[in-house]
Point group: C2
Chain length 487, copies 2
């Protein structure tokens, strides 16, 4: 077992095997991701059985599987792996997470997680203070990510509307809001959100006022703004949106999954001015924050807003136990068993301090701006007109501009897939307006979350993106496999 006084002795030889396998796999991969596409990755696994009749033993299983997974990883520690809000984790966070795995505290009752309860309380207090520095009743929850945080944001507003006379909640968000907002409304049985157009990629407060005014009489409303859109890293005009929400007595939720960590930096925090006027705020530390997934946060201005999550289960938080002083954790999540993700966050924050976190965030933002300048200077690439998002840059090969729009977009998509197939780069894609040229175009997307890179580290990536696309035969379709015992 991993716990107990002999746990570390049992773990030591196995973590050594894992570290060796990580090393060997990374060397064999030799780039940002494995070549050969999905078929190539599957082939490397051969006929390896996941559930054999008789086991192969811990060391063999770890050596085989970890080396295959490392060799077959899209590794965000490589500068050419820059597609998504998918960060390279800090070693301190990954190491702390090992302790979470070994001790296995479960955050649904104090008697499964005595000290981890203390750590979570301290971490959520600090994160709530980061978002709401001037509010005394603030609080924060740890979640599995932005999707769960957004779900909670909608759920809490739904419950408040119910409590206030059973009114139906209507959600008003931008067309650029994350898909989880729409999904949360579906899950919660709410009407489909009113999606307001976002000229230039940002929510227009006047359009939001119009949408709120057009809601059925008596509806309760929640405005969802975004601080760091997925496609462009843009921040909605939060103060004006807070005004619009207030004018219509609507609640305000800000999805700052991407942008929230700007608050660590005194220089960048002003970009999020107004966020403190939201009732609830999503923030992910597995994006800017360099945590292994999951490290989601939901901050609320007023802890009383969390009351609908209260729940009593006699085996976890009986009234007499709570009265006797045992902390009641059940109302702090929609989950029951729950990993102590606060531990890796605590280790990271304490190791780096606020200054250290700020420096890493600032580095990512600065590198993205330098990258934008290098794209502007690159003869084979054109950057999307306008500024860069938080740390997101959109661009396309000039070759795509010389084609009719649909074919140009197809070329952009093909460039991305070719680099993936060849194991040379992981770039993202986003559809966004083309400034004064008009019309939405498909762009390549680089999301810079690697805090130890400089813009020059991306020169190779830019050249790859500008390479002429030679015709590539379409990859044969992977057969869906929902059966069979080999990988």
């Amino acid at each position: 077992m991993a716990g107990g006084v002999h746990g570390a002795d049992a773990l030591a030889p196995l973590t050594a095997v894992v570290l060796d396998a990580l090393r060997a796999g990374a060397v064999r991969r030799g780039g940002p991701l494995p070549g050969g596409g999905p078929e190539g990755v599957e082939e490397r696994f051969g006929a390896l059985e996941v559930l054999p009749r008789h086991g192969v033993g811990a060391e063999t299983a770890l050596r085989e599987l970890v080396e295959l997974v490392a060799e077959g990883a899209a590794d965000p520690a490589d500068p050419a792996c820059a597609a998504h809000l998918h960060c390279p984790p800090l070693a301190v966070a990954a190491a702390a997470d090992l302790a979470a795995s070994a001790l296995n505290p479960s955050m649904d009752s104090w008697d499964q997680a005595p000290a981890a309860t203390t750590v979570e309380r301290a971490v959520t207090a600090e994160l709530a203070r980061l978002v709401y520095p001037g509010t005394s009743g603030r609080d924060a929850l740890i979640t599995s990510g932005g999707t769960e945080s957004n779900l909670l944001g909608l759920l809490l507003a739904r419950e408040e509307a119910r409590a206030a006379g059973g009114r139906t909640l209507r959600v008003v968000c931008g067309a650029t809001a994350h898909h989880s907002v729409r999904r949360a409304a579906w899950l919660l049985g709410l009407p489909e959100p009113v999606a307001v157009e976002c000229p230039g990629g940002r929510l227009d407060p006047e359009a939001v006022r119009g949408a709120l005014a057009a809601l059925p009489a008596g509806a309760a409303a929640l405005v969802v703004a975004t601080a760091g859109t997925t496609d462009e890293g843009l921040i909605d005009p939060l103060p004006a949106l807070a005004d619009a929400a207030a004018a219509h007595r609507a609640r305000l939720h800000v999805d700052a999954a991407y942008g929230g960590p700007l608050l660590f930096s005194e220089r960048l925090a002003p970009r999020l001015a107004g966020v403190e006027r939201a009732d609830s705020v999503t923030c992910d530390l597995h994006k800017l924050g360099w945590q292994p997934v999951a490290a989601g946060v939901l901050a609320v201005a007023d802890a009383r807003y969390l009351a609908p999550l209260r729940l009593t289960a006699d085996y976890l938080n009986a009234d007499d136990d709570t009265e006797a002083g045992l902390p009641d954790l059940l109302g702090r999540s929609l989950r029951t068993s729950r990993r102590p993700d606060a531990l890796k966050i605590a280790a990271t924050l304490r190791a780096l301090g606020r200054d250290g976190m700020a420096a890493l965030v600032e580095r990512c933002v600065a590198t993205a701006e330098e990258l934008a300048a290098r794209i502007d200077a690159h003869p084979g690439l054109r950057r999307r007109p306008g500024g860069t998002g938080i740390s997101t840059v959109l661009f396309r090969p000039t070759a795509a501009d010389r084609l009719p729009p649909e074919q140009g977009d197809a070329l952009v998509a093909e460039v991305r897939r070719r680099l993936l197939q060849e194991g040379r780069a992981v770039l993202g894609r986003a559809r966004a307006e083309d400034g004064e040229r008009g019309g939405a175009r498909l762009w390549l997307k680089a999301t810079l979350l690697h805090p130890h890179t400089r813009a020059a580290d991306f020169d190779g990536l830019l050249d790859l993106a500008a390479e002429p696309v030679t015709p590539v035969l379409p990859a044969p379709r992977t057969t869906a496999r929902t059966d069979g015992g080999t990988v």
Copy 2:
């Protein structure tokens, strides 16, 4: 960073610090949990700042925090920590989880998790086969635990009812069903579940037929059965419940979060006969299965049942990418960013094999039965009449039987809290009927999930539970802290 070719070199010294701190913390704890209750744990943290202005560095932060969390853990690797479905993780699983943290694959798109996608596909195929050995269209999803799996079970039934003419779904479950069933109905905007009484702790199929017959005409129905109740480890009569559901054209979901892993054992699998007739089945491998949280599973008999989860987000699974052969992962979870929990499961299953998993499950079940016999022979304890649950034993000090019912129950609760406060044992509590004596009583609960213990390892625990309770001053109430920067 933890990834890349130098990631293992960065991790190695930090994992060494973590292992040392785990060792030191366990020795300082010297028992199943820290003494002194919540105040004692908080005091050990002193004024440690989680987010100082300047960081203390990775090694210092890890040494401090991991040692405090280990010293302050309720460690299920200690036989006297046996309250909950809270397992001691296997070292192989914890070590594999380190690789997940270091590489940080995110299971929302193939280009963030190429090889991890293959591993998840193989693991879910095996787990679906375990539950549905005779069905070809089966499938399974990895979840954050039984709570999310149960939510999915209700959601899928809700969507099917909607598709079939917009009928409202009504859920019929036992009074002993896990609280997450009721919570899922609330979250999904469904009517409150019909909770059927459970004489003897198990759902009565006749009562379920009655409840189904009493539903409003035109309602769609889902019966939720339990294979391993939280309080007693009891398994509902699945074949008769499947008959009842079929007779009323209701869907059947089985919450086998606890009992599902009995299927690894040819000897114990017959206890779950009928589970293969369910439309969906919850199974947690962070209970019997010895995984660090989270390792939840939802198995479905027919992959088409999962169709409502399908979702397209252009940045993750654009149609042309999917057509070009990139696997589409977005419909395999309610989450977006998602840790590859399949990796630790794969390493464990391959290391132990089906025989090895079966042996560990059988050991837990056998030890619980032996423990029951020892309780029967103990002069100071009385076991709840009837058989043991899967690996759960309920008992109470005979001293409690000599008091009026309410005072007897208070004594049981006090015994549990005293052992917690003194750091000597973590026992659970459950209210359950007292056989022919009649009436529901409070019992102490031992849930045996430690596969390397023998019944004799629990003798000390039994003596502790039988010790006369000396009056203990009520612990001062912990002040709720939602603010402040120290732990």
